[in-house]
């Protein structure tokens, strides 16, 4: 009973929910049983957010425990460190090199964490500049799809399926920019350290 588990982690408002939905629909289109879990409401207002996507022959739990995830796609550096516990040894770690200070850091209540990039690197992290690539794609809001493009490199799905699902799921006016974003993310991985 082999299940693949993906965790998307970020900050409320970064588009993890849409990204998770795209991934889940790609897995469905390729014939898998799929479970997805996320939280809405207060947690979404700039707090830490996690989306779990699990696929395989038969998936029971939508919830992911420590050490279970095969892939962790982090939309932000601090959240990558916070959710690293989910990733099994040997799992794939893709991290957007963006740092968003949380409110307690912004107002000086707690210090900004130090050395996270190094710590994540030593855990095998692959870093991307998703916002810069999203701007290159033509929409600063497509950073979430850049990251899904990067993640797609290590996931067992056809590019055509990704393209079709993205085309159906994002706002019509932004389809082209999002498809460019997907490929920029995927190419960044193909050319960089994603080849594990």
């Amino acid at each position: 009973m082999s299940i693949t588990t993906v965790v998307l982690a970020g900050v409320g408002g970064q588009g993890t929910i849409l990204a998770g939905d795209v991934l889940a629909k790609v897995a469905v289109a390729e014939g898998h049983d799929v479970k997805l879990s996320e939280v809405h409401g207060m947690a979404q207002r700039g707090g830490s957010v996690e989306t779990f996507v699990r696929f395989g022959e038969r998936v029971y739990s939508p919830v992911v425990d420590r050490g279970v995830a095969d892939h962790l796609i982090a939309f932000e550096v601090t959240e990558a460190a916070r959710t690293l516990r989910y990733l099994r040894p040997g799992g794939t770690l893709v991290v957007n090199r963006r740092v968003m200070a949380s409110l307690p850091v912004l107002i000086g209540d707690v210090p900004a964490p130090d050395g996270l990039e190094n710590a994540l690197s030593s855990e095998g992290a692959i870093f991307l500049d998703a916002e810069a690539l999203a701007c290159e794609a033509g929409s600063p809001r497509s950073a979430n799809i850049v990251l899904m493009g990067a993640a797609s490199y290590a996931l067992p799905f056809n590019t055509a399926t990704w393209e079709r699902v993205i085309g159906e799921r994002v706002p019509p006016k932004t389809v082209e920019a999002n498809l460019r974003a997907f490929h920029l993310g995927r190419d960044a991985c193909a050319e960089g350290a994603c080849a594990l």
Binding site: D33, M42, R88, P104, L106, I107, D109, D129, A132
Partner: protein, 583 residues
Amino acid sequence: MARTLMSGNEAVARGAWEAGVAIGVGYPGTPSTEVLENLVKYDGVRCEWAPNEKVAAEVAGGVSLGGARTLVTMKHVGLNVAADVLYTQSYTGVTGGLVYLVADDPGMHSSQNEQDTRNHAVGSRVPLLEPSDSQEALEFVKRAFELSERFDVPVIVRMTTRVSHGKGLVEQGERHEVPVRAYERDVRKNVMMPGNARLRQGHVNAREVDLMTYGAAAEENRIEYRDTSLGVITSGIAYQYVREGLPEASTLKLGLTVPFPESLILEFVSKVERVVVIEELDPYLSLRVRALGIELVEHGLPRSGELSPRLIAEAFGGDELPVRDEVQGLPPRPPLLCPGCPHRGLFYSLGKVRAVVTGDIGCYTLGSLAPLSGMDSCVCMGASIGMAHGVDLAGSVNRPIVAVIGDSTFAHSGITGLLHMAYAGSTGTVVILDNRTTAMTGHQGNPVNGVFIDGSAAPELDLEVLSRAVGAASVRTVDPHELDATLAVLREETAAEHLSVIISKAPCALLIKEERDPYAVDEELCTKCGACIRLGCPAISRDESGRAVIDTVTCVGCGQCVQVCRFDAIVRVGPSCDFGGGR
């Protein structure tokens, strides 16, 4: 038929539609909100957001009395508001099928408490179904309508966050049109005065016995024998965790948990060596299993919050998975008011009045966090107003006392509180945060913003007229993005010896679609004074030297920080992509 990926809430809507539901009504509340938002998309169903859950349940009761099928939706705490309706609807029973969709929130992802709706089903003596995934959500809602009409009773379908917001594959069916039953006047059934209510109590007692008989053979309750050395009695999402965490264990999966299925429990227990109950929230099942004299295996699972496959596996000595070390010393990231949020301007100004602030339920509850620290209490929908009056009555506070309440929350349960303040001669101050939407739950229409659930225009409640009619001596509207003007009005009204209502009116930042260029800090002019930091805006931080820095991706250009900077160091700049996407 191909299966479709659906959230539990989408599947509930689909199930209700397939069951021939005519009317859906509810009040938004995480994690229940998307049920009605999806149901309204189907043809042949009319949906309405009610101002609160009690009104919704009453509308639903009326629809049922009129002979049509109806779904009423709310979160767990909403059922407290609607409980007055439910407990007596249990006596009258139904004409058209009446189903309550109530979503609990284990772990309190977006709630103020963790109450278990099964207690209300026991208290009101109505049956309760617990789906464990999206497919069951669809099927159980359809079954709930059948049971409602067959047993003459409102039926509760209890969801939890992971079932409501989890997605899974669903096989959909077709809509089954149900004709509206002809209206028949039946005073003994429907007019609950003592004589009639006593008669109906006999129906309730007999019905409970009938439902227990039904539950003993119902397909919603399912025994799965695997290894019989351990038998797990479970329900809802916990079943999924048990199947993954203890794949070899036999399970009694209960879908209809109220009334308690005693005979099935006894049958299952007789065939397994050791028995354990695994359920989220209150020990509803385990207390009743124990009451049958059955000894349960102690598992040490937490009494509150969410379970998970691994928690369960480890409680039964499952193999520990290898894990990575946790990264230590990470700053917490609580949710916060969005960049450009109008509530920030109000709380910033309110902070300068040094008031005791009784708060309420909504996005603005986040104004309680530092640095705004703008709230002294938050309990339940509408509580801010009554509590402001109560704090005043206690006589221990010689600062201004201000109630802060959102537009939708005011319509939900704030009006009666304000009426009481006027009636009791209060000279307090109530601030209505009118951001033109029910924001926290995802921007629903409400009676204040004049948007109906299908997006069409509806009458807009005039808050000024209403507040005057209820008895406020002074009613003033401010734009909370204008910090000085807002502060001046707050100072005047909190000092005045009369009942004041201040309407803080500006649309939710997420409703503003046009892109405004962000601001940035002029390094030469910034004196590191920290005034802008005290707004608590997620776009503003300090660099290593202590100067303010604005993240141009996060900034939405609201301009509040410009007003607090005395050195003109904050200036508007171009689109964020001109700066390499925020860096």
